[in-house]
Subunit: 404 residues, 2 copies
């Protein structure tokens, strides 16, 4: 008797994004079959039994299927709205005037602290829905606007809740070491004590974080302070990642590599030694062209060095109210190509396979391969390059999450 | 007896964009009433009869209403697809290699010539729908990929057809002087003869063009050739507009002003004399940050000079396959702010009032004022600045075209 599947998508063109295939791992006459939410077959029609039976058979009419998209770096959950600050800045307001008008990260922290978990969820849902509407099936969400144990945990709980309210996989990162709260009165070391001794153990105990992140920068935390956070995370069995070398080269990439970080993110100022260390550690470079664009940065991340050393490159939205109010991975790809000169294949891998690798979930999603979750994006396009080339156009036909 | 309206939108906040009001002409507690497709009242609730009767009353629940958006510069109708050329360029292909692979404007002209009117319409509809989906109610469409009388007229007919197939006002511009066709064998003057003596009269006679456009640039046509096109247009009673000073300063802005052009577009290299001439002539500056972004231009249009001389600034997508494959006016506004440092009020005026002015239809649309068409965009936002600030997020709640 023939095998029975839950669902078969046929008459499709596949960009499998498999790492063991060249380019996009394209299959011109492809079939995907799912059972129990997983991919059982993703390959050529010729390799698939013609008499295969399924509860539902879907004719894709030649459309392209890619893996469901992965946004591996977002600050999706926050309180407040910084559009007014943006408006003031364009009118020429100074940093001080904006601070007096209640702007800056301080305003987001204040609004986030005031918000209930339900309010945080309600605020984040339209942003999440925008990502889902473009085919995202896995989204990372960071804390980092609470900067006290209660609010950080509420942010992470809100992120977990998003994953129950929408058909999408949410991965959470604890980012207590994002900025110094006002009440710390400039004492970064004492705040890092709080992060390591109280916040992180509480977050870990509650199972609220899948990873631990930090912001290493002159305006944030030093390498030594970051290392303390990472050591604590290691002690608790949590993988780490880092906002590294965004505004200056403090050796963030190398530090991330030293702790076998899943990813180092931003990386505009990373030097070749940092790139080499990342390559050795298998740390993914998460590139965030939305922030580069929004803050009008001119120093580009070292794309050529990543290629030369074989560092995998992911792309993400960095969705956040201060420096990247972006909720489009399609646009993230276009910016990766236009601003960073990444190729079409690199951009597509960046929001699928390498995004999944940056979250430590490449065994589960990010490519079209048997045994992974059946996370698909089905597109009304003639060729995958259109997903990168077009600006402000969404050709998503259907999204499938875990086979549905 | 109380006045009877077709429809009343109440409990709304209005950004009227009226030129006689400061900033956005905001009204916090606003009402709009329509009859026969036109606005009868757009103002404060306090100034509106409480007992007004209507076939339908719509509670906007505090949402913001702006004028329907105007995209005053697009090349929406064309054949073919240049995503592959984009892909090749990112892989490092040279201009020659791309030309050999069938790229460049030549490929779009060839594909457009091959396409039937129905095929051109079918290709353009998804792009038009993307604009409409963000609240556009008036869209300009140029020819310029035919470069022979039959194809230029077919492009314009396809554009007119778009306006019958969707609830949107289409304004057409004849752009025969866009590029030199291959068969002209380098003889620009002889091709301009053809434009002036055959193409333009035929287009005018068929009523296919609302305006005449040209591309004045080293790689396109000279000032003298452009002037000949404009003189012919004037003789036929058609207003003119110009692709001016995009890649170099050839005095395009001044020439456009000399012919009282509706608009001069691009303008990255315009000098202050050109700006002053535009101010005197009432010529609108149409700024196209999508093209600036896509071709990685670094020379910005002279925004300060436009402000100083009081030249109205519009913003448009420049949607075209070669240098701005963009179908989002929201993103156009964000780029106007981020890349050109235009204020929120300038960006919003740029896609409403000034866009309408650039098309010569400001008497009909572009602001919320009695007697104009009732073209509205209703937004799920807290403040209008969000429309400019966010990247890749569409908060459109409802769009209304001519009262419906």
């Amino acid at each position: 008797m023939a095998e029975r599947f839950d669902r078969i998508w046929h008459n499709a063109r596949l960009a499998t994004m498999r790492a063991d295939r060249p380019d996009l791992g394209e299959i011109e006459r492809g079939v995907i079959a799912t059972r129990g939410g997983h991919i059982v077959h993703a390959g050529a029609k010729a390799d698939f039994p013609a008499d295969a039976d399924a509860i539902e058979r879907i004719d894709c009419e030649g459309r392209w299927i890619t893996p469901g998209l992965v946004d591996c770096h977002t600050h999706l959950v926050y309180g407040g709205n910084r559009a007014h600050e943006f408006e003031l800045r364009l009118k020429g307001a100074s940093y001080e005037e904006i601070a007096r008008a209640g702007g800056g990260i301080v305003s987001t922290v204040a609004a986030t602290r005031k918000a209930s978990e339900a309010e945080l969820v309600a605020g984040a849902l339209p942003r999440l829905d925008a990502l889902i509407g473009e085919g995202a099936t896995t989204v990372e969400v960071k804390s980092g606007y609470g900067l006290d144990a209660g609010t950080e945990m509420r942010q992470l709980a809100a992120a977990r809740s998003l994953g129950r309210q929408r058909p999408v996989a949410i991965r959470t990162s604890f980012l207590g070491a994002h900025a110094l709260p006002v009440e710390a009165e400039g004492d970064k070391d004492r705040y890092i004590d709080l992060v390591c001794n109280e916040m992180l153990p509480a977050v870990a105990k509650a199972g609220l974080a899948d990873a631990v992140d930090a912001f290493m920068e002159g305006i944030a935390f030093s390498g030594e302070q970051t290392a303390r956070v990472f050591e604590t995370a290691r002690g608790l069995g949590l993988p780490v990642k880092l906002h590294a070398d965004q505004l200056s080269n403090l050796g963030g990439a190398a530090l991330a590599a030293k702790f076998s970080a899943l990813s180092a993110d931003h990386l505009e100022h990373t030097d070749e030694a940092g790139v080499a260390a990342m390559a050795k550690a298998g740390t993914v470079a998460v590139l965030l062209p939305g922030a580069f664009y929004f803050i009008r940065e001119t120093q580009k991340p070292p794309i050529e060095a990543f290629r030369k050393h074989g560092v995998p490159m992911a792309l993400a939205t960095d969705c956040n109210p201060g420096s990247s109010p972006m909720t489009s991975l399609l646009l993230g790809m276009n910016m990766g190509a236009t601003l960073f000169r990444m190729t079409v294949a690199e951009c597509l891998a960046g929001v699928t396979r390498e995004g999944a690798r940056a979250l430590g979930v490449l065994q589960e999603t990010g490519t079209l391969e048997a045994s992974k979750w059946c996370d698909l994006a089905i597109w009304d396009i003639e060729r995958p390059a259109e997903l990168v080339y077009r600006i402000g156009f969404n050709p998503l036909h259907r999204r499938v999450w875990r086979g549905q």
